[in-house]
Symmetry: C2
Subunit: 250 residues, 2 copies
């Protein structure tokens, strides 16, 4: 990265610990004067980059947060807008690029990170070795019927399924409702996993069956995995094989 003004890095910081940052992400943050992020993300990064100006907006202020970052960059500061995981997966990368149409003088560079499907899978074993679908259970911006349809079709397609945002204070029962929908297509014995607080204090991996999933505790820092027809529990880990070779070789 050379000397540039009017640049906005949109940085995925990975699970949250320093070890999960890519070298490019660390370099973008180090090169920035201002870090803009949700307060939880800022607090994860601040200890490693203490000499920055940190700006934030409340949780539902995503559009304002993007404009804050674009305005700071337009004003000549070097800025990193940060998301945990990958800013391009359920993060702010799309909203920034949309709003950036009004800031033609700002160059936006997306710096990818390790998303929770990858870091959660590593914690649980290797559930994502074959085709998978990623579904957010947040109905803040998506009608629940659409979420329900996606879950049903993903199960019918025998995708491994990753659930983001399985619950929040406002949506305590979404994981249970999703599990009930999946149980209409999938067997009760289907292996599942929950990755809690990946890369942070309280990190925990939990393996269960689909029948047990509705009763599991989850929050906005949990990522949930539902295996495909081939997924097995091996040595306490959730493992999906690379294909269907066993079926093809009788």
């Amino acid at each position: 990265m050379n000397e540039m003004d009017h640049i906005l890095f949109v940085v995925g910081t990975g699970p949250g610990n320093r070890g999960g940052l890519t070298a490019d992400a660390a370099r973008a943050i180090a090169a920035s004067d201002v870090i803009v992020g949700y307060s939880v993300y800022n607090d994860l990064i601040r200890p490693h980059f203490p000499d920055k100006e940190y700006l934030t907006t409340p949780m539902r202020g995503e559009e304002k947060r993007c404009i804050l970052a674009l305005e700071a960059a337009a004003g000549g500061k070097r800025v990193s807008l940060i998301s945990s995981g990958d800013a391009g997966v359920y993060g702010l990368a799309g909203l920034v690029l949309t709003l950036a149409q009004k800031f033609p003088q700002v160059a936006v560079k997306i710096v990818p990170g390790v998303t929770a499907s990858s870091s959660g899978a590593a914690l649980l074993g290797a559930p994502l070795v074959h085709d998978y679908a990623s579904v957010s259970l947040s109905d803040a911006l998506t009608p629940w019927e659409k979420i329900e349809k996606r879950l049903t079709l993903a199960a019918e397609a025998d995708f491994v399924i990753v659930l983001y945002n399985p619950a929040s204070r406002r949506r305590r029962d979404h994981l249970a409702r999703a599990a009930e929908i999946l149980l209409k297509v999938l067997p009760e014995t289907r292996p599942c996993g929950l990755a809690h607080r990946i890369g942070r204090d309280g990190e925990a991996a939990e393996i269960c069956t689909l029948a047990d999933l509705p009763a599991k505790a989850a929050d906005m820092f949990t990522t949930v995995f539902i295996g495909n027809s081939q997924t097995r529990v091996l040595g306490g880990r959730l493992v999906t094989p690379r294909g269907y070779a066993a079926e093809q070789q009788p």
Copy 2:
């Protein structure tokens, strides 16, 4: 990471350049005596970690490669088995954990990386901001009918779709066949993107419509993105909004 014998790190090295490595991945490789990987992956890492013993097996020798790594670890060496991207997404993490059942003295630790869906999305813009399905077009271990069914259901579910392994020397027409299947469900105008050689010499982003996709050149270093019903091209980038809010607010 403390002093440990009999440890095997399974490391996702990200797109391939040094900047895409996480700090944990770099630390695992630096702590290893032996690096085991497909020759293309070894060649990407070797310049940054020249003082290691590098072992490889030919392209279809994945099982042998895993056993090579497990045996070296069982013999007391510190070993990293590397994949580009994330070893847990279409990589060897699952096969290693399966084969590791015969090596109970070896502790296997999966170190996640930035997978091509994240790094390719960042190169193209922000196509993965909402729910998506990841499908490999390789039929080496999966019947083609299964791949076809997944593509159809993913399109019906309005997932953004990411295609891994869109073509190889043996499977030149798989991308065209996949596009034809998607065209039965999706409109010809649907925005698509191709990310070529992400993070390497020859890196290129290409945006087109679904109608144009069958004629596009792709190889084993290409990742392909098919937008959902909301995906747009904005300022030359592929952008999917965070939800369906516009539909809900007439």
